[in-house]
Symmetry: C2
Subunit: 228 residues, 2 copies
């Protein structure tokens, strides 16, 4: 459809991915983190995005590659200091996204007080679905997310359980950094995150009232490269 | 000139800013950090870039805003797993850049093992100069950087003192994330970082053999915004 075409091109225009950590209480607990009192924000590079037909690549130094299934917001209208009550107007649509994470590198960075950017930023670490127009997801907090590794269900959650809801996230993020057309916000993952290995396949879906609005499938492969 | 026009447009095309922390030994020591054994990388959002005529905005919660003067590399040719010996071919030019940092927020994040993205990512936190073509800076490691706050010289360093040199940075970064046209790499700051307050003015320059290739001037102002 025309709106899908526009939405997928909007995603190419975007420059930044702002991701929210620990936005579901059960997930914060499973990684032994405190429930945050304000959104935990980090950036993933746009170069980490992959679309259908591509594979998630696991480099040798990533000994613990974790899946995190998330609802992604696609910004359609630029804004800064956006008020909560206007937040919805800035959303053009949604994607189902995976916030792939090198958990071993993230754990090491956390211990040393170092940035998360490498742990979150490798090429292929942000697989996303086709664009979902807001018309097709009128109540995003009622969406449900699931994720399987091969045949095993690993994550199954409801966007109702976000600690900071979508308007709060947009207001908070835009008070720090301006949001522009095509920018992507990853809203956090429900519990059940865990490891995947090369040879396994991740499938995930986003549903509303038991109707599937997006489904993705990404195989995990080894990242091959010549040594530096 | 034509190449300046092309370079400045290249900067608009870019999507990511990869910054290197602790790449000068004297600076690592002044913040009481260890000398790193591999480059410390973090991302700044493209939305933090400002050009001449704009001001650096200091939000109320940023009680300690620090200046860091840095040499920026502008990528002209996309690449992944770039070998050190080919790194130079991927650079279209340079900018003089300020990696503005909310040191109070960064210190708090480091203590909690949280990301640096907010501390480094506010709007206006990446002032840059006009584009400098590679022809005009044939020996980037011989460049010198200086920074003044009002009339006081705060930073004065040589790119010769980088711990990880430019080819090493490009090889390392591109082994993690692909580099694309217009992407910007901030190569780290020499010692002398320190606070600036609204009302002060930052000037900085990049010289080669005592010839000025770039000079920038950015006033610091309060960021005004309505409360969330
Ligand atoms: Mg970015
Ligand atoms: Mg996540
Ligand atoms: Mg810096």
């Amino acid at each position: 459809t025309m709106s899908k075409f526009i939405g997928n091109n909007l995603l190419k225009l975007g420059k930044k991915i702002v991701a929210v950590g620990r936005n579901y209480a059960e997930h914060a607990k499973e990684l032994k983190n405190d429930i945050p009192t304000e959104p935990v924000l980090f950036l993933k590079p746009h170069s980490s995005i992959i679309r259908k037909g591509k594979a998630i690549e696991c480099p040798a130094e990533v000994t613990e590659l974790h899946h995190e299934v998330e609802l992604g917001l696609v910004i359609g209208k630029p804004g800064r200091d956006i008020a909560k009550e206007n937040a919805e107007k800035h959303i053009a649509g949604y994607v189902l996204a995976l916030d792939m994470t090198a958990r071993n590198l993230q754990d090491a960075a956390k211990k040393k007080g170092l940035p998360w950017s490498v742990a979150k930023g490798y090429d292929t670490f942000c697989p996303i679905s086709d664009f979902i127009h807001t018309h097709n997801l009128p109540r995003p907090h009622d969406a449900a997310l699931w994720l399987k590794v091969d045949d095993q269900l690993r994550q199954s959650g409801s966007c109702r359980d976000m600690i900071f809801d979508i308007p709060t996230l947009i207001a908070h993020i835009s008070s720090i950094m301006s949001l522009n057309e095509g920018d992507l916000i990853l809203t956090g993952t429900p519990s059940g995150v865990g490891p995947v290995r090369p040879g396994q396949v991740i499938t995930a879906g986003l549903t509303l009232d038991n109707q599937t609005l997006a489904e993705i499938r990404f195989p995990v492969v080894e990242r091959k490269r010549s040594k530096l």
